[in-house]
Amino acid sequence: MNLFVADPEWGWWIVLYFFLGGIAAGCYFVATIVDLIGDEGDRRLAGIGFTVAFPLIALCGIFLILDLERPERFWHMLLQSEVVHQALDEGWPWSGSSWELMVQAPMLKHWSPMSIGAWALALFGVCSMLSLVGNLLPERRPWRWLKKPWIRWPFQLFGCGVGFFVAAYTGALLTATNQPLWSQSEWIAALFLTSAASTGLAVFMLASGWLGDVDDATVVRLQRADLWALALELIVFVLFLASLTVTLEPVLHTVHGQVFVFGTLIFGLLLPLALHLLPGPSKPRATLAALATLLGGFLLRWGIVLAPGELLTQAPSLPAVAWDESLWSTTAGKIFLAAAILLALVVPLLVAQRLQWPAPRKWSALAVAVAVLAVVGFYTITPARQLQEWEVIGWSGFSPEDGRLRGGGEGASISNRSQNLRLRTKFEAMTAQ
């Protein structure tokens, strides 16, 4: 755990973006599935999913721009500012050479989550807007062709893809840093994605409660879907905690750490799971589960985004991290492992029975439990230093900066390079004298 870093001070705007962006992606995804295989009763809900997704993601865009120190330069993430300025200097759009520059202007670093995420967010905004308009004005001429199956399904599946990308890249963005907690686990992206699915389903369950005339069969299907999504999220959550290894203990010494570990576990996972496991369809239960899931999803983002700042300020009073030890050697680790074994034995079995899983349920549940515990066991008994060294070896060559040799050229800074940098320098003042 590197406590020598500076805090990027990503605060409320980012927390809200991660939370609402996840909901938008989850809603779009569920709406597409419902639209694809649901019956008439379910399709009304699909409309709600599309109606919610676009306003939320538009709001997210605004939050992200407000979070920038220079909001007016938000477009620098999509276009190479130096190239655009050069094209403007050459008289764009009235000169041919300026157009040559302008077509090269898009800015994309596929190895940088924030760079590729900016594009995914823009694409998802467009997809969700088209889906919303197509849903509101199904008979109007330009939108009618959106309803043609050969356009609609590829388009909506593409939208789901970028939507899920938006949900997941936010986690990958946190891992692709050197901050304590964030850079420790490669599971944050998958965790945010599964949480996006469960919070998206929560919005559907709330909507089915409010709408009134949604039939019980739809509520049952939503509950079944949510049961699956929550079980999956619980598995990823446990893997995420295991992957923190010896840093789990200092994380649990912070308020934010306690909130996202216990808050998410209780409100976001165990409570809604328990509510769904009770037999029969029930709208009040689904509504309660939805509210708990939303609270848990919010606490997850809030805790994870803000915990490194607290870790950095609390650094002197945190328990020392023994890198040569494993998670198993700590008290928190022993409690965690016991809880993980209990959950792995109970939850998959109950979920399989409630979902009326077609394969032999006991064996399926046992297979899931063994697979999860194998990964958890690996993280729990391997010394942290060993894990860290493997991570550093990791997957190299994904970025041009990786493996770059001294004096080896521009590396990851291949784009947005200007011939004449406007340097701040004293030489100008000196020559002026």
Partner: protein, 282 residues
């Protein structure tokens, strides 16, 4: 192309005078840090180091590692001094993540923030393992040591190295600096003194981020100086994060397809004893 240049900072001869910090402030027109209530810089009160840490105006920072004995009167004291600066990493995490392309690799192999391109997203701050980069409170862009890029272009040494009175900060082509550093390390080891037994180079070889163009001779392990042992290049985690996410997305999709297939849930409702009441919000 000019040869890669760097700093070799020999912490064994640093006297903590902070002349490098002053020179940096002066050349780069950086304001002095001010107290909240006074217009003057304040004393930190918990250390002889009154500039504390890197900041938007402290692109260099001389660290005082103050090691006092644990007896009540703190009768024994030892100082380690280290003039810290941006490492201009050969594989630079900040440059790796920068989504606007504002962070550039110069022809001198140094890392430079092109201010007009920066939009203040602060991804570089979270990427830097050394806590070097900070947001400028007045300019609202990310700021750090420029390696005096303007001076390099005119064949001048960076202001800090020029000002250092003990030659603790050496500037030059990295190839020569490395030879110099190895000779100095051999010399210290040859003295067989207890204070030099842990002497080591940090960042001279490719182990830390492919090498650091600003590297150090330390008298203790890197952590003692606030230098991380295993900094990582951020993009390395991206393929694995993606892999798990794709797996999770497929599992979610499978589960939802299973849950929403119509037939079975219809039958589950039909099993209920009471008839279905339309319009009831339960």
């Amino acid at each position: 192309m000019p040869e890669p240049v760097g700093f070799f900072t020999d912490t064994t001869i640093c006297i903590g005078c902070k002349a490098c910090q002053v020179a940096c402030h002066q050349w780069n027109d950086l304001p002095a840090g001010r107290g909240e209530r006074t217009s003057l810089p304040v004393l930190s009160g918990n250390s002889y180091d009154n500039t504390g840490s890197f900041s938007d105006v402290n692109w260099r920072h001389v660290k005082f590692i103050e090691q006092f004995s644990t007896d009540p009167n703190r009768t024994q004291a030892a100082w380690l001094m280290m003039s810290d600066v941006c490492k201009h990493c050969v594989n630079a995490p900040c440059l790796d993540v920068c989504p606007t392309g504002a962070i550039l690799r110069t022809e001198f192999d140094t890392v430079f923030i092109n201010e007009p391109a920066c939009n203040g997203c602060r991804d570089c701050i979270s990427a830097c393992p050394f806590g070097v980069i900070h947001m400028s409170a007045s300019r609202h862009v990310a700021q750090k040591c420029t390696f005096c890029y303007d001076r390099l272009q005119k064949n001048l040494a960076p202001a800090c190295a020029q000002a250092c009175p003990t030659q603790s900060i050496r500037f030059g082509p990295v190839r020569e600096l490395k030879r110099m550093a190895e000779q100095r390390l051999d010399q210290l080891k040859g003295l067989n003194r207890p204070q030099y037994k842990d002497a080591q180079l940090y960042g001279a070889d490719a182990k830390v981020l492919g090498g650091l163009n600003s590297f150090y001779l330390l008298l203790d392990k890197p952590e003692t100086y606030g230098l991380p042992e295993h900094p990582q290049l951020p993009s390395r985690s991206v393929p694995r994060s993606s892999l798990w996410s794709i797996f999770a997305a497929l599992m979610t999709a499978l589960g939802l397809l299973f849950a929403f297939r119509s037939r079975r849930s219809r039958s589950e409702v039909a099993e209920k004893p009471q008839p279905h009441a339309p319009g009831g919000a339960a």
